[in-house]
Symmetry: C2
């Protein structure tokens, strides 16, 4: 392929990715056809999406991958600043700000948070997010760092809280992005401040005392705190 042709292909692919991400975020991944994406991307050929990306799942994967590469770079930079820390807040900061900082870097308006929230929730697409974004080496370093800060946390509770942190960050960012897009007021003025609120909450999750499970009582409302893991807050 000539250099000029390669450049044109890259530009077309970038246009399709941008159009798809926006349409998916605004209308829903399944409500939008590949044909509509091709049209909004300014492609004369309605089959452009299929030609350049394959199926809708392939297109979704390409969008996730493009963002994940940039989130990875940012998270690597953030990790360099906290390496060796035994403060839960430092590691949670890497987790949260690698996502909010990426949205901030993209500049308004963004669509990725709403897109990512849908992909994480969709029965058919969620595996793509798991394979592309959650399997990252820097994310594993964050989780390992948290494990070192909280050695008394049972492994299954650690896994549960990692899952909770991920769900909370992506869905709350999607909520904020949606409010911005619809011109509704947001609780925090910037992504930086929204991240601060999220970090407080995620530190709260990770350092919360662990209630040992007890046999389910006859009514469903009683739970007795039996043991509590030590707190390790900033």
């Amino acid at each position: 392929m000539s250099a000029v042709r390669a450049e044109r292909v890259n530009a077309t692919r970038a246009q399709i990715l941008a159009a798809a991400e926006r349409l998916f975020a605004e209308r829903g991944v399944y409500a939008v056809s590949n044909r509509q994406v091709s049209q909004v991307a300014g492609q004369g050929n309605n089959a452009a999406v299929g030609y350049h990306f394959g199926t809708k799942a392939d297109l979704v994967r390409a969008i996730v991958r493009a963002h994940t590469e940039r989130v990875e770079l940012l998270r690597r930079r953030l990790l360099a600043e906290v390496e060796g820390s035994d403060d839960v807040r430092d590691w949670v900061g890497c987790l949260v700000r690698s996502f909010t900082g990426h949205l901030d870097d993209l500049g308004p308006p963004t669509w990725y948070a709403r897109f990512a929230a849908q992909v994480m929730t969709d029965p058919a697409l969620r595996l793509i997010m798991a394979e592309e974004a959650l399997n990252s080496p820097t994310l594993r370093r964050v989780v390992d760092g948290l494990r070192r800060c909280l050695p008394e946390l049972p492994p299954e509770v650690h896994a549960e809280r990692a899952d909770m942190a991920g769900q909370l960050v992506v869905h709350m960012c999607a909520e904020r992005e949606r409010a911005l897009a619809e011109g509704r007021p947001t609780l925090r003025p910037s992504w930086h401040d929204a991240a601060t609120g999220l970090i407080d909450a995620v530190v709260g999750i990770w350092t919360a005392p662990v209630t040992a499970p007890v046999a389910a009582p006859v009514t469903t409302s009683v739970t007795t705190p039996v043991t509590a893991a030590g707190r390790n807050t900033a």
Copy 2:
């Protein structure tokens, strides 16, 4: 309408609601047509959904409403046990166990958590969830109870944490339901135990110290805890 005819209509509507909820949870709300719902519901007439419910949004609303009525009843019972409490954990227990207890009452397999997570995340459908489920009188009583337990929490942080709690509960329950449906291992053996883990986490969110926002630094990783709200843990 005669009693017999009314009964037949009610049975048909119940079959359609059950089929729709299941198909939406398993395949995605937009990936399923009203025609497919009618077929799986055993309706000879492919237009049965339209005849009985109207649009897909109306059908989604009817499913949310049917569940919300039962969640309300359960939450009212749970609230009666904690009325007047100044323990954050009691109120969070009502919030979490009214949802997990409902899923438990439905018996396996359930589809509602996955369905609710999609509806909450979908750009076009989320308003339905807000209008039907989040506008409930018992939910307001829970939020008021939490406000009384944590009077030092700034109102906007209170609102933010209420939002976080809702997102976390629905999305984590959806994750668990999906694991059950796919025969994958779950971190907790029962809805009751899953709720215990969620209650720990949501109490952690609600009682986490509040970091005052500071001006965004040049790098995105630094946040200084300036003031902290008092903790009010069990």
